[in-house]
């Protein structure tokens, strides 16, 4: 690290001042607060008419499932969607911010957003934070130049691929893609393959689970299939409802209204003009 002092911008921007102090504290044995990681399976593939994105819906906080049905496919533009893996807050904030920038850009130019624009805005942001913004994204959409699919890593590098997977379940999902992907898939074949890949992640990876979300983007149209598949239904809900056994009887219901404290102020003289 260079020893020269850097001018901190007067407003905005991330301040790295506390990083050294945090390092010192962790060295002394203080446990850093944990954050909500998504430990995910997210996938995307290009089919004959466009792009299909898929994601699981489990959000984990260490060994605990924090959200059983979260949304990991984020809206960027009417024709562009983005799946996010990594720290949930980071993926939400980054996709929200870039989606906002894209909307302003659409007003200015009067044209639909291009996937490459979203890609560049995201990678510039992530690179400037040197990997501290822990967001691994699968970005897909269809614009005037055709369908596109990209992956973005937390440090800011990107790949352009015909099919991609990210997250802790990416290896399980990639094995399905590598075995069964071919060019020119139809919509139904594509959806089936994506669902299979996500299920593979859900069943074989601890960090992924619950349901499958799918988003199909074609030229001029998009379908957001929330909870397309629910391979893990909850079975414990008692249909009879809960009833008290004889031993716990409601004996008495008494409502005691609290007395209002009313203070009487003396009527003083009016203020003189």
């Amino acid at each position: 690290m260079s020893q020269t002092a850097v001018d901190v911008p007067p407003k905005g921007g991330f301040s790295f001042d506390l990083c050294k102090r945090n390092d010192m504290l962790t060295q002394k044995g203080l446990k850093a607060p944990s954050f909500l990681k998504t430990g995910t399976t997210i996938v995307g593939l290009i089919f004959k008419d466009g792009v299909i994105l898929g994601a699981d819906t489990r959000a984990t906080e260490g060994p605990i499932v924090a959200d059983k049905n979260c949304e990991k496919i984020h809206y960027m533009a009417p024709n562009i969607y983005c799946c996010g893996a990594g720290t949930a807050a980071d993926t939400e904030a980054v996709t929200d911010m870039v989606s906002s920038q894209l909307r302003l850009h659409r007003y200015q130019t009067g044209r639909d957003s291009r996937v490459i624009t979203a890609l560049t805005l995201l990678k510039k942001h992530l690179f400037s934070y040197q990997g501290h913004v822990s967001a691994a994204l699968v970005l897909g959409g269809v614009d005037i130049t055709g369908p596109h699919l990209h992956t973005i890593y937390p440090h800011g590098s990107t790949d352009t691929l015909p099919f991609a997977t990210m997250g802790s379940g990416s290896l399980a999902a990639m094995s399905v893609f590598e075995a069964k992907y071919k060019e020119g898939l139809t919509r139904d074949e594509g959806i089936k393959l994506v669902a299979e890949a996500i299920c593979s992640g859900i069943f074989n990876d601890l960090g992924s689970g619950s349901n499958v979300d799918i988003c199909v983007i074609t030229k001029g149209n998009k379908e957001y299939l929330r909870n397309y598949m629910e391979p893990n239904p909850r079975t414990y809900v008692s249909s009879k409802g809960y009833s008290f056994t004889k031993k716990t009887e409601v004996l008495l219901t008494k409502i005691t209204p609290l007395l209002e404290r009313v203070e009487i102020t003396e009527v003083g003289e009016a203020m003189e003009e």
Partner: protein, 177 residues
């Protein structure tokens, strides 16, 4: 704003209590092309005259009516370049509101923020007031709304309004109907 040598405001009071620069700005508006708006029971209509300086000008490139959000639009009378700047600023403010509150900006809020910007330019150093009056038309939870924003930063809600050339004729016509 402005060079240090021009950190004083160029808009100063006259002895009679008027801001002469704003009066001149209103004159600039009054010599601009006519625009008008009418609030209906289920919507708002805004229109303007699009008279191009020559037949060689590409008509599609001139956009006098602009979207600020999917449900708020605006038209102007006066100086086109000033309008562009205001539209850009308003769009950004609407976007920031949406990001902060996850709610599409209500028409009154956007009008208020635009009017604030216009007022700032009458009180800051080294800048001149905007030479446009805006008609902002929008539809939100409170129904259809039509506002006029002047170079001074004041805004009014109208049932029907007109600005620019021949404004008196236009207003008389609207009042009758």
């Amino acid at each position: 704003m402005g060079d240090s040598q021009y950190s004083f405001s160029l808009t100063t009071f006259s002895p009679s209590g008027k801001l002469v620069q704003i009066e001149h700005a209103l004159t600039a508006v009054g010599s601009g092309q006519t625009s008008l708006g009418i609030k209906a029971s289920n919507g708002v209509v805004i229109a303007t005259e699009k008279k191009l300086p020559s037949i060689l000008v590409d008509e599609a490139s001139v956009q006098k009516i602009q979207h600020l959000t999917p449900n708020i639009g605006t038209v102007y009378s006066g100086m086109g370049p000033d309008f562009r700047v205001l539209v850009r600023k308003s769009r950004k403010q609407a976007e920031q509101y949406l990001r902060l509150y996850k709610e599409p900006i209500p028409v009154t809020q956007l009008v208020r923020e635009t009017a604030t910007v216009m007022q700032e330019f009458t009180q800051s150093g080294g800048v001149r007031p905007f030479g446009v009056s805006l008609l902002v038309a929008g539809y939100d939870d409170k129904g259809p709304q039509l506002y006029q924003v002047d170079p001074s930063g004041s805004y009014f809600s109208w049932k029907a309004s007109a600005m620019g050339k021949n404004v008196s004729n236009a207003k008389t016509f609207l009042e009758k109907r």
